[in-house]
């Protein structure tokens, strides 16, 4: 009886991936196992962009990634990058949920607010990144490179979010599943998963 209900719930509530993906891997991980050559390039991009050489802190880079993913309504990427950002912000971790709720009232610097405004334009329609909005970021102390990195992080997550949701990959619904994922991303970085 219990098993019957399990199957019923499984069939009615769980959205199956659009293509046959290896079982037991969620989100982007299932796609990197499915196609390791593109997976390696995607993980290398995430590693360079979020943990490579930049004057944006790793925490701020993860925050832009989580924010863009939340604007794209991509649950897997939002939860995993929010978890990474929370781990990196440590005692200031409440910043992350405040930004996702409303970045304009969140307890972050003016510079980060102007950078998130740029990320939001990129997510909606990148042609709306105006001279004025970029001037605001410069006025708040953002460098050319920080403006560049913000645009590229937002654009990159518009790719990841579409890839992960466009193939309807497995998205854990238990928030607890993302905490160890975030810690791994924040400490070990973006290492492509291996098929066991």
């Amino acid at each position: 009886m219990g098993l019957f209900f399990f199957h019923l719930i499984y069939k009615t509530c769980i959205i199956m991936p659009h293509i046959s993906l290896p079982e037991g891997f969620p989100g982007i991980r299932s796609l990197a196992v499915y196609r390791p050559d593109t997976g390696a390039a995607l993980y290398a991009l995430a590693e360079a962009l979020l943990r490579g050489d930049s004057s944006l802190s790793q925490a701020d880079a993860e925050l832009i990634a989580a924010f863009t993913s939340s604007q794209n309504d991509c649950t897997f990427c939002t939860c995993s990058h929010a978890a990474a950002a929370r781990y990196l912000f440590g005692t200031d971790k409440e910043i992350v949920d405040a930004v996702i709720a409303d970045y304009q009232t969140a307890p972050i610097s003016e510079k980060m607010k102007t950078l998130l405004a740029i990320a939001q334009c990129v997510q909606q329609d990148a042609r709306t990144v105006s001279d004025e909005i970029v001037a605001n970021a410069r006025l708040a102390g953002a460098t050319d490179r920080e403006i560049h990195d913000t645009v590229l992080i937002a654009a990159t997550f518009c790719m990841f979010n579409r890839y992960v949701d466009g193939l309807a990959t497995l998205t854990p619904t238990n928030p607890g599943a993302y905490e160890p994922m975030g810690e791994r991303m924040a400490t070990l970085g973006y290492v492509p998963p291996k098929y066991p």
Partner: protein, 190 residues
């Protein structure tokens, strides 16, 4: 005017890929694998996917470059033009129509890709890998389009520029030329 200082002789994506090399390398690798690597989709078909996404994102630089690449690979200019106008009536296979539909939905958002759109592609003979690659190419061009437009890079208006660029991406592919892009000796060189 671009939002950040970029070399004048490198318009569109070309200047951005030189601006930050550590992120450019995996982006180039990914593009080379998806558009030039082994696939049951022809290179021309894959360039059509890049073209329709860039066209719907209204990114002039990428649209012109990949239209030119598709034209060169297909040996005519009608298919790409008609795919951009309305892929449902364009002279492509039913399978390509179903895949272009998935690409167009991916351009809107990942969640727009419905089980019905996938079913249509499977029914028309598309494999899982072809569907996967279509979604990833479409997603990758959303990255490119947003990167190019978000930093307000310059899109040359001279068709000759895209002729040369098309020849380059068809003939040499997407990897960085050895030593990068040297400043032009004449104004005709890109």
């Amino acid at each position: 005017m671009p939002h950040i200082p970029l070399p004048e002789h490198l318009p569109g994506i070309t200047g951005l890929l030189e601006y930050r090399l550590d992120t450019a390398l995996p982006i180039r690798d990914l593009t080379q694998i998806l558009l030039r690597g082994e696939s049951t989709l022809t290179q021309g078909e894959r360039e059509l996917i890049a073209t329709i996404v860039s066209s719907r994102n209204c990114t002039n630089f990428c649209e012109a470059a990949h239209t030119k690449a598709a034209d060169m690979l297909l040996g005519e200019t009608e298919t790409a033009r008609l795919v951009k106008l309305n892929f449902e009536t364009a002279p492509v296979s039913d399978k390509m129509k179903a895949l272009l539909n998935i690409a167009a939905l991916t351009q809107k958002s990942g969640k727009s890709v419905t089980p019905e759109a996938i079913e249509r592609a499977h029914h028309a003979g598309a494999t899982d890998l072809e569907i996967h690659d279509t979604v990833l190419i479409a997603a990758l061009f959303c990255l490119y389009n947003k990167y190019v437009d978000g930093l307000a890079t310059v899109a040359p208006t001279d068709p000759a520029y895209y002729e040369t660029l098309g020849e380059r991406i068809v003939g040499r592919g997407y990897m960085r030329p050895p030593g990068g892009h040297q400043p032009p000796k004449s104004t005709n060189e890109v």
